[in-house]
Amino acid sequence: MAKPRTLFDKIWANHVVRTEDDGTALIYIDLHLAHEVTSPQAFAGLREAGRKLRRPDRTLAVADHNIPTTDRSKGIEDPESRLQVETLEANVKEFGVPYFPVDDIRQGIVHIIGPEQGLTQPGMTVVCGDSHTSTHGAFGALAFGIGTSEVEHVFATQTLVQKPAKNMRVTVKGAPPAGTTAKDLILAIIGKIGTAGGTGHVIEFAGDAIKNLSMEGRMTVCNMSIEAGARAGMIAPDETTFEYLKGKPYAPKAGAWEQAVQYWSSLPSDPGAVYDTEVELDAADIVPYVTWGTSPQDALPITATVPKAEDFPDPDRQAGIARSIEYMGLTGGMPIQDIKVDTVFIGSCTNGRLEDIRAAAAIAKGRKVASSVKALVVPGSGLVKEAAEAEGLDKILIEAGFEWREPGCSMCLAMNADKLKPGERSASTSNRNFEGRQGPGGRTHLVSPAMAAAAAIKGHLADVREFLA
């Protein structure tokens, strides 16, 4: 009998174009997503070498990082941001690349719109010049971020030179308690394995707590695989996946659908497949989480206290903790719930989908944002925004004192006008709490959308379970 294979092994094998003696492989890329920040130098490289795009029919470009989330009728004010978006628009025209313009309802964050359009499908290889490409692994695709040289390589050849990754399985068994969401699961996982825990591996997330997540929740989990250092994160495709895809614009149409589902159903890891690394968590132990420091691994239950540097034996780690506490303006030992916030950001490729906005609105309904807090909700795409408005979620949020914005990456990385001022502190549903990530000197606490809404109302990091009674 053939050796049992993992989901990753199968997708890898299906995409090998050729293998060199040392194991280096040329792998085929099924879908290439591009945005304005990491593509200009790649297009310039093609131009200089007189090369064309090999598969424009498997490429989609969109501007998301630099675009304003307020009134767009006046265009982009910042000249550098404007130049980057205009450069993308000129490049897609010159090279014949499919593109969703800024005024198209389908425009949005690249990792929101791929799945939304049904472009991301099980068994595919998906790349983008963006580390959060791991999001697409939620569909049982092998999806990973690449640099600009590799973007150019995919443009020109539709392939990449890669070495196979190691397999890691993270099993979250059982059912999570009330108030715990996909975001809390992934923060707990990163807190456990650390920000380099997945280096060299592709993580397959498994177990009942993962299987019972919606596609939106699965995308949140896979999105932050990179925050654990993994090359990619993935989840076996199942009925939830197929149900989500059915009827999406680029999903297989009737006739081809059955054939596709049959193929997709062959992808989950075989029983007895061996993983290089195994990690197990019990969902019952995972309460709402929050990060206190400047690395996503600095994740703790909301009921915890800020750690003290002296509690860590490793001197390098101790120095890191001390530096984080100083940057974040905290005191070791203080309760996390005593941390006041100035800004609340709900959005990003991690938590900018309809389910996330529903979760925030459920907490906000009939309540008011604290007067000391500026709170903004930035839908992940024009279609997410439209769907949320159809449900009246915008009205609930605006009534509670949230700002309702146009779609984009926004305050996740502060390349547009949405940013923290030095010393300002946010509760944010994004993916990185690095120093200066949301603006120079800004301080970020990562939370779920419901926890973000709770923080907006209380004016400090708060336990969302108090709102569930």
């Binding site: 130098q41 910042d78 690349v97 971020g145 600009t148 590799e150 380099a196 659908w257």
Partner: protein, 207 residues
């Protein structure tokens, strides 16, 4: 790509763990459409005060390290964003080689595509090289990729492992795309086989 040749240069110690690519080059400097000129923003927020003056304590602002060509770094350097602007900024500053216990995967890949050599070594050896680097301008390391050797200031030689494909590309300054084009027929044959086995795959069109 520039060929990687043997050199002797100053090594700067950067022992902090998890130096992410947002620290190497903050997002607000990614608005360029060029590869060049990012060296002045390398480690921007660690290196400069908000008024643009240099932070005295930062290692690369110290006279001995202003021309560092090697960085000896803490664990998991380059984690986070896939921005190739990070290796572009390092390379533009003049860094040719980084030595650490482990690097984030995407950063590692991106660096080798820009002619930079990233060397992974066990913790005790990195610690010893970190001590060498603290010697300032006397902390000159010789990096020989051909022989896969680092020569320490005291003359001791440290061997290192490197992926044979990456070594070959770095030594010869090879362009990956040019190499892949040699296998164009394999790509075409993959596409024709795949086209018939997965006929449902999406097809986009420019509007």
């Amino acid at each position: 790509m520039r060929k990687f040749t043997t050199f002797t240069g100053v090594a700067a110690p950067m022992p902090a763990q998890n130096i992410d690519t947002d620290k190497v080059i903050p997002a607000r400097f990614l608005k360029t459409i060029e590869r060049k000129g990012l060296g002045k923003h390398l480690f921007n927020d660690m290196r400069y005060n908000t008024d643009g003056t240099e932070k005295e304590g930062f290692i690369l602002n110290q006279p001995a390290y202003r021309n560092a060509e090697v960085l000896v770094v803490g664990d998991n350097f380059g984690c986070g964003s896939s921005r190739e602007h990070a290796p572009w900024a390092l390379s533009d500053f003049g860094v040719k080689c980084l030595i650490g216990t482990d690097f984030a995967d995407i950063f590692f890949n991106n660096s080798s595509k820009n002619g930079m050599l990233l060397i992974k070594l066990p913790k005790p050896i990195v610690d010893a090289l970190m001590e060498d680097a603290k010697l300032g301008a006397n902390a000159r390391l010789t990096i020989d990729l051909e022989a896969q050797e680092i020569t320490r200031p005291n003359g001791e030689v440290v061997k290192f492992e490197v992926d044979p494909f990456k070594r070959h590309s770095l030594l010869n300054g090879l362009d990956d795309i040019g190499l892949t084009f040699k296998n164009k027929e394999d790509i075409t044959s993959y596409e024709s086989k795949d086209g018939s086995s997965r006929p449902w795959m999406p097809s986009l069109a420019a509007e």
